[in-house]
Symmetry: C2
Subunit: 214 residues, 2 copies
């Protein structure tokens, strides 16, 4: 079903995709946005519940409010690093580009969608959120092949984002996604280059038949 | 960075990928398994925490135990559908192929990896599980381009799977993945063809600037 070239394209995008925090203001072609959202909507979901919604934010005023919520959370978190040698490193990291990116997408998860007994979610409730994460990963790969940069911001209190976007209390705003063009698309994860965290050896993460059995 | 052909390949795999429950016993080439796990390990993760592990299960004895845990859960869930017209439909659905598939992978999430204050996870703790879901989606796309079928089983009690695979109490066995060749790779999701759930209109899931604003 897939040619060698197609297979190589998949592995190429999986390996080159990066989490980006710096964006140019150039607008995004509307058909690219359409393809990225279609990719999200074709993600797998537990019991086919499709628990996602997408709030597309282009208003500068709303973006400014979201950036305020993220910055408030960043400053609050700094306090948790204050007795840590990482504090100054943390403060120097650029953790979001919400005001720069031409498009922000708030991806939400509706745990009530599909009724009270969604197949599979009945046993493991957090599979609704995991389905939404699969949709986000599809968006990331789609953005990457469109030549667009994407960043997933998780620095905020959900209640702030609910207030700003008027999201009902039972809906979970699981991610703020920034999308735009960028000048810098690094080869390695930003947190790896910044010496914040190392890539682990895959071999050490694999076990055979039982946990701990190499 | 990506050609038109490469872009089309990505959308093709995103759209054709299906959740499969029927497998042939033919063995999987070891290098394909390697590429699928590499794809998982190249998923994004919050604070670059890489919270995943992969328990590869080829032992028939262990597979039999996992299938027992899944079947026990299936029968328990049937009771929740008993006053529902869906009960007989539920019972007729094939929900797992754990004993058929030549390879089962238990994907786990370690919420303690990366220490107490993982960047981003500090604000939204469930981003560890969402990162693991991104890894699973990469595995799915990789399996699909390898001509392999994959199924994500979430019918089990985590405590049963922990007992069977000797997984420590703080590690979360978030998914049982079946991988193998199949004779039937449907065009539409199985739950859609079985009239269990419909594909929603993407247009209805998109809002502009605020929740509810079309």
């Amino acid at each position: 079903m897939f040619s060698k070239e197609e297979r190589e394209a998949i592995y190429k995008v999986i390996e080159t995709r990066r989490d980006i925090r710096s964006f140019k203001s150039d607008p995004i072609p509307i058909d690219a946005i359409g393809r990225i959202l279609e990719a999200a909507h074709h993600a797998p979901s537990v019991g086919f519940m499709q628990p996602w919604n997408f709030v597309l934010i282009e208003s500068d005023e709303v973006k400014k409010q979201l950036a305020w919520a993220a910055d408030k959370e960043r400053r609050a978190l700094t306090i948790h690093y204050e007795e840590d040698e990482r504090a100054s490193k943390f403060l120097s990291l650029k953790i979001e580009g919400l005001k720069e990116a031409p498009l922000t997408i708030c991806v939400t998860c509706d745990p009530t969608r599909g009724g009270s007994h969604v197949l599979g979610r009945n046993s493991i409730p957090e599979t609704d959120m995991m389905s939404t994460a699969c949709a986000i990963q599809n968006m990331w790969l789609a953005s990457c092949v469109e030549g667009l940069a994407m960043g997933w911001v998780s620095f905020y209190k959900k209640s702030d984002v609910r207030d700003i976007l008027v999201i009902p209390p039972h809906i979970d705003p699981v991610a703020l996604i920034s999308i735009g063009y960028t000048d810098v698309y690094p080869k390695a994860p930003i947190l790896e280059s910044a010496n914040w965290e190392k890539r682990r050896s895959l071999q050490n993460l694999i076990f055979k038949d039982k946990w701990g059995n190499k």
